[in-house]
Symmetry: D2
Subunit: 360 residues, 4 copies
Amino acid sequence: MPSTSLCQEEACLPYSLMDDYSEGAHPQILEALLRTNSTQQATYGTDEYSDNARQLIRNKIGCAEDEADIFFVPSGTSANLISIASCLRPYEAVITLESGHIACKEAGAIEATGHKLILVPAVDGKMTPTNLQKAIQQNQFFPHMAKPRLLYISNASETGTVYTKRELSNLSAICKQSNLLLLMDGARIGTALCSVKNDLTLRDIFEMTDIFWIGGTKAGALMGEAIVVKQHLAEGFVFHLKQHGALLAKGRILGVQFMELFKSDLFFTLATHANEMAQKISINLEKLGYRLAADTETNQVFVILPQELVRRLQDRFRFYTWEQLDDGNAVVRFVTSWATDELQIDKFNAWVQQWTAAAK
Amino acid sequence: MPSTSLCQEEACLPYSLMDDYSEGAHPQILEALLRTNSTQQATYGTDEYSDNARQLIRNKIGCAEDEADIFFVPSGTSANLISIASCLRPYEAVITLESGHIACKEAGAIEATGHKLILVPAVDGKMTPTNLQKAIQQNQFFPHMAKPRLLYISNASETGTVYTKRELSNLSAICKQSNLLLLMDGARIGTALCSVKNDLTLRDIFEMTDIFWIGGTKAGALMGEAIVVKQHLAEGFVFHLKQHGALLAKGRILGVQFMELFKSDLFFTLATHANEMAQKISINLEKLGYRLAADTETNQVFVILPQELVRRLQDRFRFYTWEQLDDGNAVVRFVTSWATDELQIDKFNAWVQQWTAAAK
Amino acid sequence: MPSTSLCQEEACLPYSLMDDYSEGAHPQILEALLRTNSTQQATYGTDEYSDNARQLIRNKIGCAEDEADIFFVPSGTSANLISIASCLRPYEAVITLESGHIACKEAGAIEATGHKLILVPAVDGKMTPTNLQKAIQQNQFFPHMAKPRLLYISNASETGTVYTKRELSNLSAICKQSNLLLLMDGARIGTALCSVKNDLTLRDIFEMTDIFWIGGTKAGALMGEAIVVKQHLAEGFVFHLKQHGALLAKGRILGVQFMELFKSDLFFTLATHANEMAQKISINLEKLGYRLAADTETNQVFVILPQELVRRLQDRFRFYTWEQLDDGNAVVRFVTSWATDELQIDKFNAWVQQWTAAAK
Amino acid sequence: MPSTSLCQEEACLPYSLMDDYSEGAHPQILEALLRTNSTQQATYGTDEYSDNARQLIRNKIGCAEDEADIFFVPSGTSANLISIASCLRPYEAVITLESGHIACKEAGAIEATGHKLILVPAVDGKMTPTNLQKAIQQNQFFPHMAKPRLLYISNASETGTVYTKRELSNLSAICKQSNLLLLMDGARIGTALCSVKNDLTLRDIFEMTDIFWIGGTKAGALMGEAIVVKQHLAEGFVFHLKQHGALLAKGRILGVQFMELFKSDLFFTLATHANEMAQKISINLEKLGYRLAADTETNQVFVILPQELVRRLQDRFRFYTWEQLDDGNAVVRFVTSWATDELQIDKFNAWVQQWTAAAK
């Protein structure tokens, strides 16, 4: 049995809180792949399962078939680069946070499609109306400057915060005024929608954006993201998928997974679990007197810990150190997911509590 | 049970011989995904399964770890565009058959990375030394012409034929002389290697090319292709994967599948089955007096059939009509695969025999 | 005086009939640059001279200011790549002759902007309706094929032939039916319009195409081409110029030259001279019994000559050998221009006549 | 006489201090174009004048023919995008100041070739070693981040300051350590080298950079920039020129102009004049008590003036308002050039002095 010979969980490595994609897929999803495996299906996304998944997602949004088209792609970077390349002309630019995933974690994928990024500083991990308007105003010296044409935001944000209805509505209004399209990266849209701070519905997001995508990879699927495109922008979209290698021959495997996530509320149930696990960590840390570096609104906890605690904790858990601070502390990140084992979180909390008590 | 409600095989559609990716994955592969599902793994292709799969593939090739690097990508178009974009400078061009997959079935994916294609007519679906040399000679008016720098071929070819050792060796020698890299698209390399006409080993291919890839999608995997890159071309390759959205967060799912295909001889067993099914069709058609439009060397049968037979056959089986001929006949294509049900092939053969007898 | 020390015409090299851009500019054009040199002008194409030149060109076309926008660029390759990149979406392709300038003389410039070329064989150097329709039909397997969206033709063609009104009208009609844009490369549009075979007006061309450009470089300017863009395609065009380095800070120098070419009929006078010089060569060669390889309709003469004549002629004149034929003959090309010295043509004709007489 | 009918200097518009490219070319350059106009020359940059100009530039640098290749292009944006695209692989990024010309004045030209820009804040208009190292360190999370591979700087900088030998040497050392290429944009390299603050020679610049270019457009030419490329980076460079439309058929016109600029010291004489005119403005303004917004080291004066003065001055001179300050003042920019009329500068100074006296 290869999995055993390669890695016995307990034996080989400390429990990981590094990210939300260290495990495979939720068992129900694998089961659905098995169940549907032997049927013969049309290819390249025209199979019954993909059609069915599209309809289930439209139902959750509350939109008609002729309001939105939905495309499945294998990765978040695919989703971003295809969405952007599909609706921009060569001289048009994207406004994004400096910390935006496309700005600093996708190896220049957007620029590789020819488009400039205009960088804006984040406030609480988010784009603000003021900063957006400033960026628009500072990029009007035409034709010497690329033309701002699309605002890219992520919900949940890179630091795990969420956009409120009012915040998104304000950004959306500025975009409409300034003739910008609005693209929401939803790699973690599940945890955003299930955040206690959230007051947005999928329908709100659909109305306030032009394109948004629903992340499957971080939400319990093997892989796959569903891009929801307003109908007037959908023409030709499938060519972009093909051209960028994102149109899988067996599109069914993406369809089946999203069908499973959305035929009931599995998608939201899993996101809620991830959020709750993060809350458990966050509440405990605050109770012990540690200061959060960002509000814990979804499944990421950013906290300031003393170096000694970080060092000791690394023997027991894996996680990222986000930033070394000058005062001997560090910002560290703990990420939970649909797969996070509550027993491990309890162990984590207990151990931190114990260490903290001893350290006093 | 969604699969039932959506499609009961017998009830809904005739049996498909349209392509080799209408089904899901071979059961052993799904089982391997299940078995390895819950372990926590490193991400973006650095997991144990991917490492293991790389080693298994290197073993089959018979090459050392420092001779070749191996990268897994989700689709054939990804494999081609990344391989080409990774080793060409902007003004360098690709020589390909007019019928090459990159020339007419990938929506301009190579040109989208900025590279020109130089088109060459096929002979028996293949590139010939004469045609290759002619193309090189006709593209030397520098700097007004893009510089030929890479030869792209597919094995098996688009019409299912295979390159012999002598043929590949001749092309490889010209490439070396002319400072061209050689890339082999191996979407169907399994059936090529298992063809009765084949005299190439994986090691031969490795030595005679600079990059080649091993198709998983058409060989029983859910998706995925393994790109084998000679070490001196591998630097920076992973950036290209990332930039084009082909570096999956859960790279493990590609690793697990290739591990399963190559830990024993499953990859070759499945390809052999596909070839045998095509032989059964092909032999029967020839026996009945129908003329093949291409030699059946792998898992594709191209045959010239009368329109009436084509029409009647379409009620019973699905397949592509490749070309309408002026004489009332048509070239049609039947594709078999690892999943092809031998009973269906027997039914197919029997029915064609019956119709032919009646038609005389 | 550098020009003397570097090259005294007679002393250094045989007279060139290689191309139509071996000399500088027509003296009137240089004089205009001198005359306007010291005024202060707005920059990047917004100067008075460029505005004036635009108006003069519109007048020659017979079109209103709101019907067409006109942009000046430094080179023909710039004109082609910018025109094409400005109106195609990433997955859209260009239909061109195999012998089209963009297909074989621009180092892959179009592909470098991401667009596929679909190649069609030429008949008399030109695109035919039949071949165009065939290309469209063969490129409909979407989304696996790039979508044909623009037809590129050159007038005069690469072999010096011209499109008649009927021919252009037929192509234009197919383009409209098939939702293709039509771009005419006018590097030699002057000689085309002044051909004895021509029955097109600039207004016809404007109406039957979507974008066409008027070549200055080969028509007596130092450099520069004027792109005429139908208004609905002009939005954002200037950004493309800037982005591709074709928006000159001193746009005035292009404006002044086109002003000079079009304020009177200089543009046409010069083209007529070029054509007449080619006629003199062509008529003489035919009279002497040599077979033309293409009709001499503009300023290029393609003729089949015996190798011995070619060799001897090379001591006296410079020209391109286009193709070595198997029978010991060769196709050679003689190009005339606005600058061609009639005395040299007379010498050329006399010498060929003499050689031919002696050879009999 | 068109120039008269279009614009009589005094009559139509106030004297411009907006930029250094509002006039045509220095008379000697036009004269050289006239003098060389009628010779027949080889094309696409292989003419005698271009060869001669290359040799003259190499002589000024003090480098051998096999140390550097030199290419002429029509515009600064061409020079930048070609230099960068020619030596970067697709996933490699450029480090530039936020205020870099490629970052904010070239319409996304670099990104259009596929490359990411990494932005760094300027200090006195310049890149500092500290900021450069920080940018390198912050962009090492591979392969998720594009790989820093080239440092782009301008000398003179966007605010007219110059790099000292020590400053350039420090940056160059970091580049070598970090495997970065160094590209210097020399749109205003003439005024930089003639600055009283300058201690760099052309040879220093050649040694400390990998590619640098010498701006002709702002230095008295009609257009044209000379790119100096270290030999090991020059292979294939000419293809890039062709592919981007920057290889002029009549390359001679660029060669002739640079020959004229460098056969004597015209290039430096003109730059010195520009600098002196800026000094006259700058010294007067400081004497009158106005605060400079940047040191006047070359031909640009950035000064803080009261709004009322700005308004009144606009009736007499044209110039850019760079930034509105909150306190009722504004930063304005005055640019001088080879063509600046000293009488106009005297008038300018006198008028400002008079206004200031009256305003007290």
